[in-house]
């Protein structure tokens, strides 16, 4: 606990006011005021000076309308402050900024609040994971950030708690466990706050979980609704599963933060891969796995869906962000969902008709062979079975994994972090046991024979579906993208460079000095007192070094350790 934290006001208003006056010098120039996060501010987060939620605003486009840092001056970016966190696991979190408060999460569910201008640590919180084995966490013990509402900050944890803390003090307001730990479920996502609710989803598609999205009362933690992504017998979609108990371990993890369309009052949330991985064990389309799901956010009732990969046997998941935007295609204006799927296809879906507008491959895509009447079909020849090894593309890590893409309304482009991988895959015996993986396949990630590089950051023109530019890299592209009105796309590399690229051409305009570790997190940007900052967590880890097959060798010597870097112009 810092000296500042020890004296932070906690209870009454007069103490808050008095303390703010008396202790201001001890905290440098930082005033203790915390801007309350209201529904109105969240609805207008796109234009807020801060970065109020995981992907900046409810559209999930990771686009900021800031232009102080732009194509002409980005080469002048300098360090504003930095903070060495340490820890040897992966840092996948987005810093979240409200006023002068900046919050970051770390592996194993630590949370640190900073002064966004000076980097001074305001408070720290560490979720106790005592007695938790972390046995059912697939892809590193990561956390992707917090959500804000009122005076609280919310974190989802590896042992399935949602923790609400006072944003100014770090004191726990409430915490609620939505599933026991170590029996298939975990949470790594940043929560979404919406209309007084905290909404989270569970991971567990590799461990025989039956996953769900759940909404809690932001003030109390009381559960408001819970919607499973795999239906029970009799529910809509249950006829796409075999009879029996297999649905209870059917996966459909909801492990990435959803988006929200206020115009239709619809919450969008991805459903992940079905379990076990081997599809022959669960005949049917297996709804609502690998699917876009549209929910009524007040009740959790499912309004409609679009399945990206029917009857998935390749762990193609479906949780990558459903970004909300509008575009013009073949002369028609659309209200759209844009989604770059693990299966290697970029989907553009009409939010009004719920039908596919178009889809284009952004990576080498074999398993998902094409579309008929707007619906995808798969190549049965590349379905693995016990005794049958297949080769297909992309690998189960996807043409793109979880890393947020970004949609730029000025360029009408989507910027897609990409990996060029294929895989061998074979059916294998499996059994369900709580606490152990439930896969039924063996596999190995290998190079894409059509591309000698492991990675790329690509731009696609959303109005044409054509690739606008392609920044190829020897190593995998393993970090999120963020675009700004300054005509820039920011993202990071495994070698530990934060890059700023020209949003229209892909030309690298600025490259940070080599940071202390590789980057797997998304960058964010915010403004305080008229100055624009760019923040990024370095800290190599995540899924690639664990599951990456032949790719592991290429990233084996990347140094680890978390470190927060913040840049601005002088």
């Amino acid at each position: 606990m810092t000296r500042f934290q020890a004296f932070l006001p906690r209870r009454s208003l007069w103490r808050i006011a008095l303390s703010a006056v008396l202790l201001a010098p001890a905290a440098g120039a930082f005033a203790a005021g915390y801007p309350v996060v209201t529904n109105a501010r969240l609805l207008h987060a796109a234009s807020d000076n801060g970065w109020l939620m995981f992907l900046r605003d409810y559209t999930g486009d990771s686009y900021a309308p800031f232009r102080q840092i732009n194509t002409r001056n980005v080469s002048g970016l300098k360090p504003a402050w930095d903070y060495k966190i340490g820890m040897k696991q992966g840092f996948e979190g987005s810093p979240i900024v409200n006023g002068r408060y900046l919050f970051v999460t770390t592996p194993k569910d630590h949370l640190i609040a900073f002064d966004a201008v000076t980097g001074k640590v305001l408070w720290k919180y560490q979720k106790s994971l005592a007695g938790v084995g972390l046995k059912t966490v697939c892809c590193d013990v990561v956390n992707r950030g917090v959500a804000l509402y009122g005076n609280n900050v919310y974190m989802a944890t590896l042992d399935n708690y949602v923790v609400a803390l006072n944003a100014q003090t770090g004191k726990v307001v409430w915490q609620k466990q939505i599933k026991p730990a170590d029996v298939g479920y975990a949470m790594t996502l940043a929560p979404l706050t919406l209309e007084g609710m905290v909404i989270v989803g569970t991971s567990g598609g590799e461990y025989g979980a039956r996953d769900f999205v759940v909404a809690l009362d932001a003030r109390t933690g009381r559960e408001i609704w819970r919607q499973y992504t795999v239906p029970s017998p009799g529910q809509p979609g249950s006829d796409t599963w075999p009879k029996g108990e297999i649905y209870q371990h059917g996966g459909g993890s909801a492990w990435l933060t959803g988006t929200y369309d206020p115009s239709s009052d619809t919450l969008f949330w991805g459903g992940g891969n079905p379990g076990p991985w081997l599809a022959k064990l669960r005949p049917g389309k297996n709804l609502f796995t690998d699917s876009l799901q549209a929910f009524n956010p007040r009740t959790g009732q499912r309004k409609w869906y679009y399945q990206y990969t029917p009857h998935d046997s390749w762990d193609y998941d479906g949780v990558n962000t459903p970004m909300i935007t509008s575009l013009t295609y073949h002369g028609r204006r659309y209200q759209a969902i844009v989604h770059a799927d693990r299966n290697g296809w970029l989907y553009v879906i009409d939010r009004r008709t719920h039908k596919l507008i178009y889809a284009v491959p952004f990576a080498h895509a074999i398993s998902l062979a094409g579309f008929r009447d707007g619906l995808p079909y798969t190549d049965d020849a590349v379905r693995p079975a016990v005794g049958k090894q297949i080769f297909t593309c992309p690998s189960f890590l996807g043409g793109k994994n979880w890393w947020p893409a970004s949609v730029d309304p000025a360029t009408h482009m989507v910027y897609v972090p990409t990996i060029h991988t294929c895989m061998t895959m074979k059916g294998a015996p499996t059994f369900y046991k709580p606490g152990l993986p439930y896969l039924g396949e063996t596999f190995k990630v290998v190079h894409d024979p059509n591309d000698s590089n492991w990675g790329a950051l690509q731009a696609f023109d959303l109005d044409t579906g054509k690739r606008a530019w392609n920044h190829e890299t020897r190593l995998p592209w393993d970090a999120g993208a963020m675009s700004t009105a300054g005509g820039l796309v920011f993202s990071g590399t495994p070698q530990g460079h934060l890059l700023a690229l020209d949003a229209r051409t892909g030309q690298v305009l600025w490259r940070s000095p080599k940071l202390s570790s590789g980057i797997i997190a998304p960058p964010v940007t915010y403004r305080v007192d008229g100055r624009q900052y760019v923040a990024i967590l370095a800290g190599w880890g995540g899924a690639t070094p664990i599951w990456g097959g032949d790719m592991v060798k290429s990233v084996a010597n990347i140094p680890v350790g978390g470190h927060l870097y913040v840049y601005s112009l002088n």
Binding site: D182, A428, P434, G435
Partner: protein, 166 residues
């Protein structure tokens, strides 16, 4: 040989079921592997597994594979389940890529690190894939694993190398 060890495994299973549990493991642990296997397993683990599970099995990006949280009554893992899973699905970057001998050695190493004693007979695929003895951490036995003499095995269905303190 395999039949004998299967008997040991089965007898240990019965004892586990009958004896009251105090702490993590009150029943006597069976000796299912050789010291040589565990040593080879330690080497293979360091090479193939430690990058995720830690050099001392303490966990890292993957779970800890030693101790009362991993090998607990609550986890309810059997030796068979752990062996069958790891020999099919591990290491995650190339599942099934190790030799059968390496998987058995690594299993022996996990048993040793969780307090199971070495014996004179080697763990085989048949034993490991049929042994439904619960995997329960036995810290006292781990502190000084005792190699069971072959003579002691003769004529007895079960050898009790060390009974743990609760």
């Amino acid at each position: 040989m395999s039949v004998r060890l299967l008997q040991i495994c089965a007898y240990a299973l019965v004892l586990t079921a009958l004896l009251p549990r105090r702490g993590e493991a009150a029943s006597p642990p069976p000796a299912l592997y050789t010291r040589s296997q565990a040593l080879q397993g330690a080497s293979a683990f360091e090479w193939k597994c430690a990058s995720c599970h830690g050099h001392h099995l303490q966990g890292g990006v993957g779970p800890a594979l030693e101790g009362p949280i991993f090998a607990s009554a609550k986890s309810d893992f059997t030796i068979q389940q752990v062996y069958e899973f790891l020999s099919v699905e591990m290491p995650a970057y190339a599942p099934g890529s190790l030799t059968r001998t390496q998987y058995l050695d690594i299993t022996a190493f996990l048993l040793r690190q969780n307090g199971y004693p070495a014996g004179v007979r080697a763990l085989t695929d048949r034993i490991a894939s049929h042994c439904t003895v619960p995997l329960l951490y036995r810290p006292a036995a781990k502190a000084s694993p005792k190699v069971v003499k072959s003579k002691a095995l003769a004529g007895k269905p079960l050898i009790v190398p060390r009974v743990n303190a609760p």
